[in-house]
Structure formats: C-alpha cells, structure tokens
C-alpha cells in the first residue's frame, strides 16, 4: 500500500481487485456454500465497498477506516462460522486486518466467575484476536437481563471500548439466533450502533439441504445411488419437522451416522460371506443405511436418530 506522491486523477479498480485476489475468495464462497443467496449478495456488496473505499483512500478522498464490525444472525447450522472464516480472508486480502486469523469464542471465554475476573479474561481474548477477527458465537448470552449483577455487562463494556478505539486492529463479528440477537441489540444500543453490517442467514430449503448432503458426502469420498438419494430426501423432510433441527449440522450428523451403519453393514457382510469388497461398495451409502435412522421410526422420538 504505497501512497502515491501526488494523487492520481484515476485509479484502476481492476488492479486492486486482482492484487487482492478477492474474486477467488468470492468464487470459492459461491462454490463451497449452497444457497445463502442474500448472504452472498451482502458479502459481495461489502467486498465491493471495501475495494472502493481502498481506492478512495489512495486518492485521498477518505481518511477514516470504515467500521467493519458485523452481526450474523440465523438459525444453527446455517453457515455463520464458515462465512466468518471467509470474511476474515476477504478483510485480510484487502488489508483491513493484518493477520486474518479468526478467534472464535463464546460467553465462557469472555465472562469471569467472580469480581475482577472478567476484565483480564476479556482483554486476553481481545489481545489474541488483534490483527484478525473476533467471532463471538451466541453473543446474546453476554447479556443476562434477569441478573443485574451478571458480569456479562462488564465484558460488553470492554468489548465496546476496544471496538471503538482499536477499529483498525480487529473486527468483531457477533453471531446468534435472530430473535435473541434482536433483544440483545435492543438492550445494548451502544453495541447496535457500532455494528455496521447486519447479515441475516436464512434457513436452507429441502433441495439445498440435499445438495449439501451430496457435497459433504463427495468431500468424504462417499456417494449416493438413486435409492439412497430418495431416502435422504425423505429423511430431510422428516428431520426438519422435528425439534432441534440444525440445518447443515443435522445433515452432517446424519451422514456420519449413515457412514457408521454402512461400515457395520459391510463388516457383517464380510463376516458371513467371505469375499473382497469392491471400491464401489466402500463408497456407496445405501438406502438401507439412511432408512435405519430413528427419524423413520413411526413413534415420535424427541432426539435425532
């Protein structure tokens, strides 16, 4: 980032884009994450804004760094953490954070258990996050209105101070359920006003979840056949109607259990009828592996199967 001696009249946006290789990250985001169209659009907008404001900075049109703190709201398993990682990379490539690492914390890492414990704890986390992104998962837990002596408020105050004074040293991303984050921001107007970008993560549709399942299986070198993809479709529909459904995370867990059943099936087959297992059989997740899930059981269960 060499400041030109005399500001040029024009600047090559393309050059900034290419130098920072932003397009790569955005393409990767498009490729790796299914759905999430509004989120991707917002990130594209933010990236464009950052590129433009860097261009403005080098022309001397803008002096202060833009506020980059963000809030990601959405149900569990909608990709908030994954997007935060990508965001850190984008910010790093554009030079808005120096190192680009993500420090992921929850209430326990910030709030202490007795008087005088919170401030050093919060400060230590903040120091670790400097030069990168601080990702606070389930941030609404920081504020507990029912207990007025809760130490969460102290952590929030330190956080606010650092968010304001060290704006070019770290970027804070708060994440959590939409409605609870709404209450959190209402009761902490200082926090809300310091966050420039509110991004909402929508739930996945059934088709998107199926695409995610195929993508995940592909990454682990597994595949579905026609029967199992049908079973997976039914599974997704049934599971989504049950409580504690966590979008992509539930799908990942279901896949893990299906892999377990597949291994067991192959093992038992090998025990009864001795023989070699083909590579095809090792990669295939059969319909029976999915249909053995408790989700397909008729009687209502309260846990995922």
């Amino acid at each position: 980032m060499n400041a030109p001696v005399s500001p040029p009249a024009s600047i090559d946006l393309q050059a900034i884009l290419q130098e920072a290789q932003i397009q790569d990250v955005l393409d990767q985001l498009d490729r790796e994450l299914v759905g999430l169209a509004p989120v991707k659009r917002r990130i594209r907008e933010i990236a464009a804004f950052l590129v433009v404001s860097r261009a403005r900075q080098s022309l001397g049109l803008e002096s202060a760094a833009p506020s980059l703190h963000m809030s990601f709201t959405g149900n569990p398993g909608t990709g908030k953490t994954t997007v935060a990682m990508r965001m850190a990379e984008i910010l790093h490539r554009l030079g808005y954070v120096r190192k680009g690492h993500v420090v992921s914390v929850t209430r326990d890492d910030l709030v202490g258990q007795y008087i005088g414990h919170t401030a050093p704890k919060t400060k230590e986390v903040l120091k670790k996050a400097m030069g990168g992104v601080l990702f606070i998962d389930e941030a609404y837990y920081l504020y507990r209105p029912e207990n007025e002596r809760d130490y969460g408020q102290e952590a929030i105050e330190i956080l606010l101070q650092v968010m304001e004074n060290h704006r070019d040293d770290l970027v804070v991303i708060l994440a959590g359920y939409k409605d609870r984050m709404g209450t959190f921001f209402q009761s902490n107007p200082g926090m809300s006003s310091r966050i420039a970008h509110h991004i909402d993560f929508p739930d996945y549709s059934a088709d998107e979840l199926l695409a995610i399942a195929e993508k995940m299986a592909g990454q682990m070198n597994y595949r579905f056949d026609e029967g199992s993809i049908l079973a997976m479709r039914e599974y997704v529909a049934l599971r989504a109607a049950q409580p504690h459904f966590a979008n992509a995370r539930s799908i990942r867990n279901a896949l893990d259990r299906a892999r377990l059943r597949q291994a067991n099936r192959l093992f038992e087959a090998a025990m009864t009828a001795q023989g070699a297992v083909a590579a095809d059989d090792l990669t295939l997740i059969g319909a029976e592996d999915i249909r053995a899930s408790r989700v397909f059981a008729q009687e209502p269960t309260d846990g995922p199967g």
């Binding site: 120096r98 190192k99 690492h101 050093p120 230590e124 903040l126 120091k127 670790k128 400097m130 030069g131 990168g132 060290h166 040293d169 770290l170």
Partner: protein
C-alpha cells in the same frame, strides 16, 4: 570524566539508542511474535544491574498473533507507572533455549540520577567496589518523582 553523560540506564537491547517509538516497538514485537516467543511486560523502580527480577505487569502473553494487543498493554503499564522503568521481554520456550531472547526498556523516568560507586577499604590496601542507585536510597514508589 563523566562515564555516562546521558545519565541513561543502559540495560538490555537498544539502550544506547534514542527511545524507541511505538512503531519501532511494534516492529520489534512482530519480530518476536513471528519467532513464536511469548512476550511479558515488567516494571521496576530499582534499576540496579543485579536486580534481574522485575515485577510482571499482568501475565505473560501467549498465543498472540499481532503486536497491537501488546502495545495496548505497554501503554496501560505506562499509564499506571509513568515514572518507572518498563521493559519488554520475549521468552523462547523452545527446548534447549528456554530463556528470554529479547529484552529492552520501553519506558524510563524523566530524570535518571544514575549510580554511586562505593569504595570500601578492606584488609591491607584491598578495595571492594559496589554500585548503588541514587534513586534507590528513597523508599519504593517515591524514587522517581
């Protein structure tokens, strides 16, 4: 002849140079962090050369990636002890080293009176020498106004 005309404490690295700016300190901190050393901040108002154990300002800082956090602590320490000596120590925990690899002063009192050389005559015409900080004759906390 004055042996230390600047009357400056010369302990640790860079002590013969003009005081480091925050930017220069940041660069030194980055160097240490890139090597994987943990950084601690220490202070004292007893600058005797054999006083190796200074007080720690907070815990040593592990797992940091960026100097900004350390600089924040240094400035906190400067605010708390504006008239003390403050030094930054980078500790290398690698097996075989396990020792401070860098140490330099980042804050010093405005007026450093220096050291008195004491000569003690002992048996015969032997002389024993010792040094004593002029400031350390006063009680702790009142040494540097």
């Amino acid at each position: 002849m004055m042996t230390n005309t600047g009357n400056r404490l010369t302990q640790g690295q860079f002590s013969f140079l003009p005081p480091l700016t925050d930017e220069q300190i940041s660069k030194q901190l980055s160097f240490a962090l890139d090597k994987g050393w943990s950084i601690g901040i220490e202070y004292t108002d007893d600058p005797h050369p054999r006083n190796t154990y200074w007080e720690m300002f907070g815990n040593p800082m592990f797992d940091l990636k960026d100097p900004a956090g350390i600089l924040m602590e240094i400035n906190n320490c400067r605010r708390t002890f504006p008239h003390h000596y403050i030094r930054v120590t980078a500790f290398d925990a690698t097996r075989g080293w396990e020792t401070p690899r860098m140490s330099y002063i980042v804050n010093r009192p405005e007026k450093e009176p220096g050291f008195r050389l004491n000569r003690q005559e002992v048996d015969g015409r032997m002389i024993r020498y010792s040094v004593e900080s002029y400031a350390a004759t006063r009680p702790e906390g009142e040494r540097y106004p």
